[in-house]
């Protein structure tokens, strides 16, 4: 058997079929790995006991020859932003500490139906707001990769517990959510694959909302094939989410390993930002060359409003967040701080229950939605959002996909994380435009920088064209042949 830490979903499914190991054995290995790597702080709440019971049932199903799901017996981690019935769900916040949902999110319910086993609820930036997993109430999650002098690195964010856990081989895969890059950037920082599907591909029902017009769940896996398997197990129409797309979900795996000859890949000139890290630029050029070698046609394109995407995002996302997070008032669930009046109780509860970054974004959102500023900020940002979306629509008249770097750097150290908010926000410069336009995009690990840290390439696809996106991503993966393993596994 391949070492557990290196096992992919596909390999595990084969091994299970051949009876090389059982679901219980896989789950036990996952639990042992979580325990041995507890210093990475990937877990907010474990589900070990329940996971073992589910694994037992899964083995019985297999033994009896009952129909099996597409991810039958596969131990996975769940970002602690998905409501899980009876299992603490916190969004990495104090205000939801101890909250046990009475229902299961659509995506986790679907994964369960497909046989996946939820081993643990994973760490994240508080309410998914952050790019380094440093805003979690439960402490920073740590990257299994290390700096050249053994520095502790961030695993990216907000899905940082998910990226760290998958990269360290604690689970075979994990769910993430992506509002401005929260699946793709942590995937790039940890050398794994992260896919943000088209807005509407996966139901948002039961996912704790950050910015509802941007939030989308997706898979974080060790390779592209696993991403295709897991997306199939997460996606689908849900009548409980009015923005869930009423479209069929294709078998994404059937598109892999197809010829990409003649496919047109766009290189947007505006992504060559001023002061771009030369290693990032070189990696990007390498990606284009790899695609060209396989017969793809590389085409220069323009996305003229790119530079406005980040400021647009930092109006729209906080605005939606301030409205979404109004529900945490201490009345019905979560933390309550006593106060002299109802208003006093609200204000004390929210002040104690929300972390600094969350409070900051609520304040910004409240400001840009307030009377007198609504048109100048919020409506203007929504107009620029349309221009950004139109840029992509025009580009996709000429190309099948767009290639960019995923992030402007490799993972940075926990100690030296930027203190200034705007510098921190720049981490999402290449990922945010995709969310504003509602498109699917994937990050694929492609190489190491001079510090020996993984870099990711981002491919952006047409709306609901994840099939072609995965096909091209697989071609990049094959050509890049990224085999480096994190320090933790050496």
């Amino acid at each position: 058997m391949t070492e557990f830490s290196k096992l992919t979903i596909k390999e595990a499914l084969k091994g299970l079929e051949k009876k090389e190991f059982s679901a219980v054995e896989l789950t036990q290995q996952s639990i042992a790995a979580f325990k041995a790597n507890s210093d990475l702080n990937t877990v907010i709440c474990d589900n070990f006991e329940e996971a073992l019971k589910e694994a037992q049932l899964s083995d019985e199903k297999r033994a009896k020859g009952e129909p099996l799901g597409s991810m039958e017996s596969i131990p996975i981690g769940i970002k602690d932003l998905f409501a899980t019935k009876g299992l603490q769900t916190t969004a990495a916040s104090h205000i939801l500490e101890g909250f046990k949902p009475e229902y299961e999110s659509f995506v986790t319910a679907k994964l369960k139906k497909e046989g996946a086993i939820n081993v643990a609820k994973l760490n994240l930036d508080q309410f998914a707001m952050g790019s380094a997993n440093l805003t979690s109430y439960f402490g920073a999650s740590i990257n299994p990769w290390q700096g050249p002098n053994g520095e502790k690195l961030v695993p990216g964010g907000s899905s940082g517990g998910s990226s760290a856990a998958v990269a360290a081989g604690l689970v075979l895969a994990a769910t993430g959510t992506d509002t401005g890059g929260s699946i793709r950037q942590p995937a790039a920082y940890t050398g794994i694959v992260g896919l943000k599907p088209t807005y509407g591909r996966c139901s948002r029902w039961g996912i704790i909302a950050y910015a509802s017009s941007l939030d989308q769940a997706g898979p974080m896996t060790k390779n592209v094939e696993d991403a295709a398997i897991m997306l199939g197990a997460m996606a689908g129409h849900d009548k409980m989410d009015s923005t869930s797309a009423p479209y069929d979900v294709p078998d994404f795996t059937s598109f892999l390993n197809q010829d990409i000859r003649g496919m047109k890949i766009g290189i947007p000139k505006e992504y060559q930002i001023e002061g771009m890290n030369p290693e990032i630029k070189a990696e990007w050029e390498k990606g284009a060359a790899l695609l060209k070698e396989q017969g793809a046609e590389i085409i220069d394109i323009s996305l003229p409003h790119t530079e406005y995407a980040l400021p647009t995002y930092y109006i729209i996302a906080p605005a939606e967040a301030s409205a979404n997070l109004a529900r945490y008032d201490g009345v019905r669930y979560g933390l309550r701080e006593e106060g002299d009046s109802l208003d006093d109780m609200y204000a004390k509860t929210r002040s104690k229950g929300f972390g600094e970054e969350v409070q900051k974004r609520i304040l910004i959102g409240t400001y840009v939605l307030s009377a007198g500023f609504y048109d100048a900020y919020y409506i203007r940002a929504q107009k620029v959002r349309r221009l950004i979306k139109q840029d992509f629509e025009k580009a996709f008249e000429k190309v099948d996909a767009i290639l960019t770097p995923t992030a402007p750097s490799s993972a940075f150290s926990v100690e030296n994380a930027p203190k200034d908010p705007v510098t921190m926000y720049l981490n999402d410069i290449f990922t945010v435009p995709v969310n504003l336009a509602g498109l699917p995009a994937i990050s694929i690990p492609s190489g190491l920088d001079s510090k020996g840290l993984p870099l990711g390439l981002q491919l952006i696809g047409k709306a609901f064209d994840e099939a072609n996106l995965l096909k091209i991503a697989k071609a990049v993966e094959n050509a890049a042949n990224f085999t480096a393993i994190p320090h933790r596994l050496r």
């Binding site: 009475e102 797309a245 009046s341 006093d344 304040l363 221009l387 509602g438």
Partner: protein, 95 residues
Amino acid sequence: MSLSKDEVKKIAFLSRIDVEEEKLEELSDSLSSILDWVEMLQKVNVDNIEPLASTVDFTQPLRKDEITDGGYQQKVLSNTQHAEDGYYTVPKVVE
């Protein structure tokens, strides 16, 4: 665009978040730096552009206006320690 301490206080009240007096300065600096930065959107020509609230391009479904869910008071109340006789309790609102 810079926010004064009083403006931050007002926004904090609207957001129902208590901000300690000594943190106001730092917070107004931090929020102002974000607002300064987003100011660059003023440069974009948005004449005759409609605001985009959602990228969803399929028709949002309609259904009959009828009760399809509910009837589980205990579940609804299961995450609070402040329930009495099937109601949530809050500080006194009317004197």
